[in-house]
Symmetry: D5
Subunit: 150 residues, 10 copies
């Protein structure tokens, strides 16, 4: 089994352990002193963790040594980490399908020729209470990068 | 040429006319009394417009009659409206690739078994000034819908 | 093996056990106090089950502990659960291919701009006796959701 | 342009003409003495129409001669008639993705080795009023066909 | 390993055993009192077999118990059972590619709007001696099913 | 427009003309002194026709000169000529999917290492009357070609 | 025809005009006071040009007005601009295939967790004389962007 | 497990061992007396190594015998070695997407009809210090090969 | 229409003209003083031709000016020039599928680590008479290029 | 593991054993009294071998019993045996991409309507010495098969 598989498998172990121990993502984020989404994505395998961070999580969730080691393997950011046909994921992709060309135009008008970075980027997750049904609020925040002209 | 092509072509006409007339998306949104992102996506072809709304835009941008009529055709929300390999769009998709499984887990923990709607959904676009380089801020806000158990 | 594989494998174990014990899907539905289709899809892996529900099924079908635990893993709703080239499945997909654009138009005419939910959704299965050959009757029932305008 | 394109284009002409004349699919169905879904799919291009039927529709909607002739071309039942990424259509496909393996198992248990026909098949569309939001009800009804053993 | 893999693996075991024992498909067909093609496809995994039939084959070919049990698993009729790039298979597909549109037209002219069933269907295999080189003769025989009009 | 498009378009013209003139494929076959399936596939574009043959068909169906000329263009035998998702065609492909591995094994047992030719090949189409519903009978007849060993 | 097609077509016009007039890419670069590769990609459609720049090129190459206008349309940076099977392009892609994982590892070791920007990026093209056959030298130079941790 | 998997797995072992031992790619390159990029790609599996070279690396990194042997297996240069959706890799591919047609034109103008070799090819990696953020510099250097005319 | 389409269309014009004038590929090759295969591929669009060569062919085949000009456009060597499902082409691809891994091994044993060039490459076509049926003989001749080690 | 995997794995074992024992493909061909390419492809898995032939090879290369048995399994001629992105293989495919349409036309002109067989087919491999660099010469020789007209 490759590092990549090990890293993703470690993420699944964490989901299981976290539910067994009744620990929340927010508590794990606090233990690592990082934001909620960064922490979740790091533990599911998409951000690098050093040995100390891996150890902290291992202690909190009683993970075996192999899983703790796997948490320090390089992050998996390719599409192996995602099933685009899973219904929650699909709706996010559909939103991009419907609004993507608009975002492209709005960035072009407001900032000029360039992109919104997916690297110098943060993502926040929030529950918004609403009497007609609570809502999920996601905030994408990325630096504008202008195309270099040379 | 199909309605679909006509609707997308009308969107391209609007981009051209709006740049020729020096009109912004925000001004168009104000004329239609709608939000910035809804208006942009409607004029690019992803939301329905009635004859009055189409007429308002047509007057503002001196569009020909054919383009105004095309604006009232059914919206195009399938993937024909988007080029996923275009660099701005790709980075948004990459963000989903990297954070999608985290969002799935966070929704499951916070709300239970269900999805974030892409229909009862709003999207806001904002420029955030930053001395290290201005940033693009996108807010996705969708109603949580629980899976029905029957 | 991932949770996803475990959950789908548990579904296959149930099919085998249910045939060995001569138990029907209707009897399993009754034991869980749920509808026939919901129960079948839950046991095959597409709905969440809590420990009590998993235990009930485990007792009825003499499942081993590992299978019972796997039944409580998150549901698998992506396309890994389905082989679109399998002949029964294919005919359902072909029906959508033939009638899908009609359903889109009929919803648009009757309800306006929006979709039929696949989340606030029920599906019933019924055998209709017919002297020329019995028939399968499937009833899809989903809430209409209007696109938000903002 | 091929017959196939002509037939699909005729369907788009009908949608436009029907909205211009304020005619409903139900009225068109009545004029042809057929069911609502069959009529809609026939006019959009998925069922054969003879010259008399095409003429009836042509008179009702003031279609030009070319469109009336195109209505008599062979039906288009391949996937050219459908955009699977369009949001209404996608949710129907997702329902199959989630429930398809269950329907396969339920047919196998109830009827034995065979399929539900997509040819000896009817589909009904109905609006169900509901105080929590009206619902779309679709009834698929297909003959069971047992695999021949020889 | 899934039932599907087990069933296909059982087919490969049968090919090996049958060659080791010098048994022909025709002899196996006779033992099951079925036709040559049905028997071959059943033993390779595409038709259901009951415990008695599986036992008969098991005795004839000295199969182990696990393989005999696997023969009673549900048939595998999706595309996992076939490699379309294998040269024998490819030529059959090429024949469909070349003659498929003709068969469609001939069925439409002779029978009207409908299909040739792949379920109420038989297939025979025959060697035809020919001084210029013997020939393979395949007879496809399927019931015509007219599209229902409602 | 390429020769390929011209040849396929000529095929569509012939279908239209033949229905307008009430001529059958069998009558066209007789006029060309060829078999029914060869003739149909030749006129739809999959076999070469010389100027004399094209002229014969042109006279019988009152085709314009351009269509007659297009009939003499090289045959189109690639997959552009076929829509695999069209329901009649799909069922033939499904039959190959279900029985293809069996045909491979039966050819291997009966003839040895080789293939059934799709070039030295004939295909016959026949209607078989049956009180339970008439049937379509297709006979594929291809020369066995052994792999060369050198 | 869309802006995208217009922009790419303008690029092809420029190639033709430049060969007819005996003008080199280097001369065009000099006229625009930009680098060789930026200029070539801008004129082929991958960078934005303002009206003045378009006019300069138009005068140099005697382009018609329509082509000059098309040069000011938004750049085309999606994959429509490239044929990956074209032999020159393919070899560049093969180099990435062979060395891509190495570049990933070397960036990770040298810079840490991040990427090489394709936006704050320059590319130079140079001919290197060599007695054993001249060589093409390409220099990719992109800013390292560290993943944000938050 | 195939040689291919063994070779790629050996590459992953080396990454792990090299980090555990605090050895750099540059040190490994020096030990093999090869360039940095060639060495990295050889150790990750894309260049052949003889037993002596494998032994040198094995000693330096305390690799087990199996891994050392696997290093001498044939190189893996197909796409199995690369995940094109991984963000570092993707940006290199995007650069080709944006600049590929320009490189093709520049080679054609400068050298005539031919390609830049990916075989008689070197690639160098360099860190360029920059007060606005350090940069990655990659130098591709390949022999021009003219198409043979015969 | 792009240059690419123009160049391929010119190739089709040549096929038509050459058959109308009874000229063979060998005669065209002689007129251009090139080999048979190079000439055929050049005239079909895969090699560059200068104005003089284009004029020679134009005179021989009475081509119109537009076609003659199109012959001087850049060659089309990407996959747009080939239909891999066309039966003649498919068999060549199948031969590669069956023998490709052997050729790879034989080159590796005989020459070492490298490739057979497709650029410094010739291809000859020959008819070999044979009493059991004439044969096609194709000779591929490419320079061996060793991978550079640096 | 399937027969197919076993057969391909046996091929990899042979490559390893042959290098360990310093045996060439030519020596193996001589031992089997077959041509070089046939032998290589048979040992890599694309031709059938009987028990005697398998035994001969087994003795020569000290193969274990399991590998010898696997050599007698049915040949693997589908695309599982080939990686089309591997550089040696890719160049052969590119040659077909560039010259395929020419070969089709030359066969059509010289032989008429038909194909070059990939079954009654031989392939020879030869090293051609050349002061400017040795060359690989491959000779494809296949029987012409005319399309049957009936």
């Amino acid at each position: 089994m490759s590092d990549k598989d090990d890293r993703l498998e470690a993420g699944r172990e964490i989901v299981r352990a976290k539910e067994a121990h009744g620990v929340t993502w927010a508590e794990l984020a606090k233990a690592l002193d990082r934001s909620l989404v960064w922490t979740t994505s790091a533990l599911l395998g998409q951000q690098p963790l050093d040995a100390e961070q891996a150890g902290t999580v291992g202690s909190l969730l009683d993970l075996d040594e192999e899983t703790v080691e796997a948490l320090t393997f390089p992050p998996v950011r390719g599409d192996a980490a995602l099933d685009p046909t899973e219904p929650v994921t699909y709706r996010l992709q559909e939103a991009l399908q419907v609004y993507g060309s608009s975002l492209h135009e709005l960035i072009r008008e407001e900032f000029g020729d360039g992109i919104m970075s997916a690297i110098d980027f943060t993502l926040d997750f929030e529950r918004v209470e609403d009497p007609k049904g609570d809502r999920v609020k996601l905030t994408f925040n990325g630096k504008f990068l202008p195309y270099k002209v040379w």
